[in-house]
């Protein structure tokens, strides 16, 4: 495999576009210019973009919690060694409102 060259940007693939949006809308130095915009104002756009830029809490309110199934981040959030079943149990517990602290520890 080689570096996926982004040079031919005229027709970006969905994956490339996702990478660009992720970086341009969510990373980089934040400077409040004279024009105040809030990228969280992006409401009507597809849920796809919402998923990218919504804060974790806001997304959770919307019932969007795909990253909690993210093996890497779940593992980190759990501190490493615990089993996936235990993680699943925690997720179920938190969904049932039995454990309201643990669920907030994932990455933002």
């Amino acid at each position: 495999m080689s570096s996926r060259d982004l040079a031919s940007r005229s027709q970006p693939s969905p994956a490339q576009l996702a990478d660009v949006l992720e970086r341009v809308l969510d990373k980089g130095i934040v400077i409040a210019g004279d024009i105040k915009i809030n990228l969280l104002d992006i409401e009507l756009l597809t849920v796809k973009l919402r998923l990218l830029i919504a804060s974790a809490d806001k997304a959770r309110e919307m019932g969007i919690d795909w990253w909690e199934g993210d093996a890497f981040l779940s593992r980190r959030a759990e501190g490493g060694g615990k089993g996936a079943l235990e993680q699943r149990l925690r997720r179920l517990e938190s969904a049932a409102g039995l454990d309201d602290e643990k669920a907030d520890e994932d990455a933002t």
């Binding site: 949006l21 341009v24 130095i29 400077i31 004279d34 105040k36 998923l51 990218l52 981040l73 933002t108």
Partner: protein, 267 residues
């Protein structure tokens, strides 16, 4: 820019050394003018003129929700940064920084001078590379040693049905654990070749449009001269895990979006 557009403002893409050579810049956001450098003291901002009827607060609030507009302008923003990043160190700004007066851009460079200089020093001579891991869950589950087909012998009793379900659940859990371990180790290995690294949230399938699940969405800041080494390591990782249904993919080089001090809590 039409003759009828009234007020204009200045869109800021990023910050560079003033010594950065002028280059034939691509068109900027707003489908408008080419990007240019505005020097102020020991820093320079990459800017282009935009019509405020497209980029003022009210207009932006509307436009941000037009998918085609947002995509085109996010790509234009990136395109400008990339053009500069090919020839000099660039500190990327997040999308949507607009000033009414050029003088205000100068003030920004003054006010955030220390931070911007620190960020420039951090990215100078370095590039950001993206690495993603994708997992084909079914393949991973079936590829696990000792997890060969458990036989679909008639599950006549409730007990054997439950055992079967339990077995499937164990296989899925083991696969998730295995995958987590693999991407964790991969990240550690790639970090050794990088100045820094960050793991971002995995992008959802709706966004990637791919059948596999994204298991790792990482970015690494590497010396420009080490790009090939990191690329080779990604290829090695891919070779090692492909049979398990886990593939690794490299993107970039990117402007160092992930490695400039942005806001608190960010690297």
């Amino acid at each position: 820019m039409t003759a009828t557009s009234t007020a204009t403002g200045w869109y800021v893409y990023g910050v560079v050394d003033p010594a950065a050579c002028e280059l034939a810049t691509p068109l900027g956001v707003g489908g408008g003018t080419s990007a240019q450098l505005v020097e102020h003291g020991s820093l320079a901002a990459i800017v282009s003129r935009v019509a405020l009827d497209e980029f003022d607060e009210a207009a932006l609030r509307e436009r941000l929700n037009e998918r085609a507009w947002l995509e085109a302008n996010a790509l234009a923003h990136e395109e400008v940064l990339r053009a500069f990043a090919e020839v000099t160190a660039v500190v990327p700004l997040r999308f949507g920084t607009v000033y009414r007066e050029l003088a205000n851009v100068g003030e920004l460079l003054d006010e955030r001078s220390d931070e911007l200089h620190a960020s420039l020093a951090r990215v100078r001579g370095r590039v950001e590379l993206g690495v993603k891991a994708w997992v084909d869950r079914e393949r991973l589950e079936s590829a696990q040693p000792g997890r060969a087909a458990t036989g679909t012998s008639a599950t006549s009793t409730g007990r054997s049905y439950l055992e079967q379900r339990l077995h499937e659940r164990d296989a899925a859990a083991d696969a998730a654990e295995l995958c987590a371990g693999i991407v964790h180790d991969a990240h550690e290995r790639l970090l050794r070749l990088a100045v820094d690294g960050v793991v971002n949230r995995a992008q959802p399938r709706e966004l990637t449009g791919r059948p596999e699940q994204m298991a790792l969405n990482a970015a690494y800041l590497v010396a420009a001269t080490d790009q090939a080494r990191l690329a080779a390591e990604v290829a090695r990782l891919d070779d090692e895990t492909r049979a398990l249904g886990i593939t690794f993919e490299l993107t970039g080089p990117w402007p160092a979006h992930n490695f400039v001090s942005g806001e608190e809590g960010r690297p």
